[in-house]
């Protein structure tokens, strides 16, 4: 025979010019649409989260743009902690621009109907503020009443809390104000602001009569200016800008407020975007994992196609077309769901946002979602499908024939892109490469650790397998180890949602634990401040009358820093290379004087007092650890304080570690005694007030006798912080829910993927005599185990993450909310059981004969 060799002329057709692969993709898909849909269903929630948060940002930006002037209430606001000097106001008068003013301070008010009192933000208004937007009151004329007499209006929340009606009155300082109504909407106010500091509004002309404005009172003054147009705004700014440093005031324009708010919301928005992105990444894992199983199942079909002449690429393209188009469908569905969620977003986020959010769909976000979906559909399906190209046709003869793992350029490219995807997408979402990198690394670490914990947990259970447990429990547990069960992937995907919620609960509990008074009978829970020296003995005597412990009585002197290490603060603030923040240099400090450490303090470095004999720099002060780092000073460095206009040269003698929440008040700077005694000062006392009538009577008498003295109930702060957390946690839980739902969709997909295997197992069990009840029990217990293990994985890691956050970010002790964690774990377990069981109903009810026939 002649040995000859002929080269084949084979046409290579690209995907779009090969009608056969499209036909095959359609034929293969139509047979099992619901199952294919589950392959990409996990993408829907991820895309929905991204689109919803993107649209929220768009709506917020739109609302901020539309309501920018309302947020400020004026075109320019000048803020100062002293009444504005005539030099400034006269300049404004010459420009003939309409102005309004307010003065804000913390003050006690007594609700005369119940005789209860509370510290509020007292706002005294003059003029036609707000110039833009409207202060909405109930009744509508309430604000005009306030302008013309001794009337007060108060935040709706405050009125509800103290059951204030229109016939009631408030005692503010020395005077009684009749309640004219409640404020339901204030430009730029509401939301979190109102939770932190509920306001009472009076007329500025009535403020002096209250007797609250005394030496040491902390009052913020604002002057609101209305201009005719932007040109005039610029002119006003030109006039007031040169005097800002001299008179220590600041000003804000609409643009600056918008930028500031934009910045604040950007940070919050970026955090929420990243939470939404977690759901998307989980969806990607779900898609990749399901497609991996799908590709494995298609091995025999691919081998047949290879046998009859299909190329590896053609086989690959059939399944790629399916998952790509289903991915696109999933993206469209996700984008639709995300847009629909816009309806409830304003409700969930209302406490965060100072403006009313319109319902609007951001088409940019929808397009972004679709694009992300398309990218995910390609990236996360190509890798598991790549194996299809190399299925040996010999599989038709020997199903066990091994597929040699091959390196291909496609695989390498896709792996590189998959690694880059979260970095690029997170960078895109946050507009910051650093944030994108940090987030991606963090997420990779979290997923890696979750996978590690899941793996270790599964190994441990296998190692200590409960050999003596009942058959049903043993069998359900061993089902988790069935081939291709994706147990570890499921533990990670379901666990991640649980991890986010558990971490939030634990951090919240730890933070609240800091504010809480842990039953320590000596610790103060009430602070009385703004006590004038002449009132000090009277207040102490009143406390003694009520048998209240006098835990601290400390003088407070207000001062500023004039020089730091020989350089003037002004020079430092105008030096662009200076690394000390302006706020730390320019702020007002409230210092005290004593010669010993307080219970909340310990010396880190140096000593409490240090008198240098014969030196004129003989005033040695101590500084708290945090501020020492901020001001970049050390023991021996010099500081010149401006004590009410008098310079005082000092040196740092030591650095104190301060446990701030412990037995307040605590101080940044502590002077030695013998220096500030003659300086103008106020006093603060700290005590522990019990519950019930005596406490209430003490407050009443205090407000009556010393109306300018403010009382801070730290328990109220605790409840305020709690309610603040409640508002934040609604949003975080809402977004974490996306992750949990994605995890559960991945679970549903995995259950359906392994359906046939499960049916075969059940048929075998039935043949051996198992009843439907037993099979149902096995199924339920299997998912209970899976839910439990997933929850444990998330919770174990959440404790580690919470500890890290508490230790290094919040610098507090970890306090684990065990009850909350048990609830999170239980909820995850129950949801897993329900989803697992729901998708297994067919498995449980399939008659054995049907399966045997299919097998045949």
């Amino acid at each position: 025979m002649i040995d000859y060799y002929i080269r084949l002329k084979r046409k290579v057709m690209p995907l779009w010019r090969d009608p056969w692969v499209w036909k095959m993709a359609w034929r293969d898909a139509r047979h099992n649409r619901s199952r294919l849909f589950l392959l990409v269903a996990s993408l829907i929630t991820g895309i929905a989260a991204v689109v919803a948060i993107g649209s929220l940002n768009h709506s917020l930006q739109q609302a901020l743009d539309q309501n920018a002037k309302e947020l400020l209430g004026a075109d320019i606001v000048i803020n100062s902690n002293k009444p504005l000097p005539a030099e400034v106001t006269s300049r404004l008068d010459t420009m003939k621009v309409p102005t309004a003013a307010d003065a804000e301070m913390a003050s006690m008010v007594m609700f005369m109907n119940t005789k209860q009192s509370r510290l509020v933000k007292l706002t005294a208004l003059r003029g036609d503020f707000p110039f833009y937007g409207q202060m909405v009151t109930l009744p509508p004329n309430a604000y005009s009443q306030v302008r013309n007499g001794r009337y007060a209006i108060l935040d709706e929340t405050l009125a509800t809390q103290f059951e204030v009606s229109s016939d009631d009155s408030l005692k503010i300082g020395n005077k009684i104000f009749k309640v004219a109504g409640v404020v339901t909407k204030m430009p730029g106010g509401g939301g979190l602001t109102s939770t932190l500091a509920p306001s009472v509004y009076i007329s500025l002309s009535e403020l002096d009569s209250t007797g609250l404005v005394q030496f040491g009172s902390r009052i913020s003054y604002s002057l609101f200016v209305k201009t005719a147009d932007e040109k005039q705004t610029e002119k006003v700014v030109e006039k007031i800008k040169p005097m800002t440093k001299k008179f220590r005031y600041s000003y804000e324009t609409v643009e600056r407020r918008k930028e500031g708010l934009g910045r604040s919301f950007r940070s919050v928005y970026q955090f929420f975007t990243l939470l939404a992105f977690v759901a998307l990444v989980l969806g990607c894992i779900g898609v990749a994992s399901s497609v991996h199983i799908y590709a494995r199942e298609k091995r025999e079909d691919v081998a047949v196609l290879r046998c009859v002449g299909s190329t590896g690429w053609q086989a690959f393209n059939i399944y790629f077309i399916q998952v790509f188009f289903l991915g696109l469908f999933g993206s469209v569905a996700g984008a639709g769901l995300g847009a629909a969620i816009q309806k409830i977003i304003p409700v969930i986020f209302k406490n965060f946002i100072p403006v009313e959010l319109p319902f609007s769909i951001s088409w940019t976000s929808v397009l972004e979602g679709l694009l992300l979906g398309a990218i995910v559909s390609v990236l996360f399906t190509v890798l598991p499908l790549a194996a299809v190209r190399f299925v040996p046709p010999l599989t038709v003869l020997r199903t066990e024939s091994k597929q040699v793992p091959r390196r291909s350029r496609l695989k390498l490219t896709v792996i590189t892109l998959i690694v880059l995807f979260p970095v690029l997408a997170a960078t895109w979402q946050t507009n910051s490469l650093t944030k994108g990198l940090v987030f991606s690394l963090g997420l990779a670490a979290a997923l890696g650790l979750l996978a590690l914990v899941a793996w270790a947990l599964l190994r441990l259970v296998r190692r200590f397998f409960p050999a003596h447990a009942g058959f049903i429990f043993r069998h359900a547990l061993s089902n988790l180890y069935r081939p291709n069960n994706q147990t570890q992937v499921l533990m990670v995907t379901i666990g991640l949602g649980g991890f986010i919620i558990a971490t939030m609960n634990t951090v919240q509990h730890s933070l609240l634990g800091q504010v809480e008074f842990r039953g320590n009978t000596n610790q103060s829970n009430t602070i009385l401040f703004d006590i004038q020296p002449s009132q000090k003995d009277g207040v102490i005597s009143l406390m003694k009358d009520y048998k209240l412990p006098l835990n601290q009585t400390v003088p407070i002197v207000t001062c500023r820093i004039r020089e730091l290490k020989g350089r003037s603060v002004e020079a430092m603030m105008s030096d662009t290379t200076n690394r000390i923040p302006d706020w730390a240099l320019g702020r007002e400090y409230r210092v005290t004087y004593r010669d010993s450490l307080h219970v909340s303090e310990s010396m880190l470095k140096g000593e409490m007092q240090h008198f240098l004999k014969g030196s004129r720099d003989s005033v040695w002060v101590t500084i708290s650890e945090g501020m020492q780092e901020t001001l970049r000073v050390d023991v021996g460095d010099s500081l010149v304080f401006d004590i009410q206009g008098i310079p005082l040269r000092t040196r740092i003698s030591g650095i104190r570690k301060v446990d701030w929440p412990k037995d307040p008040p605590n101080f940044i700077f502590v002077f030695p005694s013998g220096v500030l005694e003659q300086a103008p000062q106020i006093w603060v006392t700290a005590t522990r007030v019990g519950e019930g009538g005596a406490a209430s009577r003490f407050q009443q008498e205090l407000v009556m006798k010393f109306p300018n003295v403010s009382l801070v109930d730290l328990r109220l702060i605790l409840s305020t912080v709690e309610s603040l957390f409640a508002k934040i946690s609604v949003v975080v839980r809402f977004l974490a829910l996306f992750s949990i739902i994605t995890g559960l969709v991945v679970l549903a997909g995995a259950v359906v993927n392994s359906k046939f295997l499960r049916i075969k197992e059940n048929v075998l069990l039935r043949t051996l005599g198992a009843r439907t009840r037993q099979i149902t029990q096995i199924t339920l217990i299997e998912y209970a185990y899976l839910g439990l293990f997933a929850a444990l994985t998330g919770i174990l890691l959440s404790i580690g993450a919470s500890w890290t956050l508490c230790r290094f970010f919040f610098e507090i002790d970890l306090s684990v909310a065990w009850v909350a964690l048990v609830i999170v774990g239980g909820a995850v377990m129950i949801m897993t059981m329900v989803i697992g069981w729901y998708n297994s109903r067919e498995v449980i009810s399939t008659p054995p004969l049907q399966v045997l026939r299919k097998e045949g």
Partner: protein, 230 residues
Amino acid sequence: MAEIVLNVEDLTKEYASGDRTLTVLDHVTFEIQAGSRLSIIGPSGSGKTTLLGLCAGLDVPSSGTVTLMGFKLNAMNEDDRAYLRNQYTGFVFQNFQLLPTLTAIENVMVPLELRGEKNVQTRARELLGRVGLGDRLHHFPSQLSGGEQQRVAIARAFITAPRILFADEPTGNLDEENAGQVVELLLDLNQQEKTTLVLVTHNLELAKRTDRILRMKGGRVVEEMLMPVS
């Protein structure tokens, strides 16, 4: 002299099994002329299926050569071999190997569609009619009995009018009655289409109906029998 459609020369296939090398096919040489029928028989593990797989280019040998329709399979990559199979060969397997998501007619059409041919439905219908499944065109494999599935597989194998048909235990999964029907069908079509047949079987009676029998044992051809012309 008739055309040689398949030439196997000194074919060896070895697998690594732990530290050992397992020789499943040991220096096998033979050739087949166009239109002839060859059966390969032998006990389980004798290397029959391995030989069939190598002849059809489903696997690559450790040494030796396979020349199919004049093309040396050793020199080709997997996709070229697939193309060659599509152009010249047909397959019938023991476990039918129909695509479960395709109907009977769609399964039959696949090889022609892969060639890019148009109007393939008529030919598929006609073939399915010839195998007695004219009324089951749109049934999925799970809706057909084993015998019917194998008849669909035979129709698929013949739709390209292959020059050579590889059949691996085509009756292995069928009862006696169905097996008889399938054999008759296979041989009839083989005769009508003048296809070369390479048949792996345990069934000596079936093997006797071919022109030549190769008996294998331990990876070697231990006996070659020529059957009298019927």
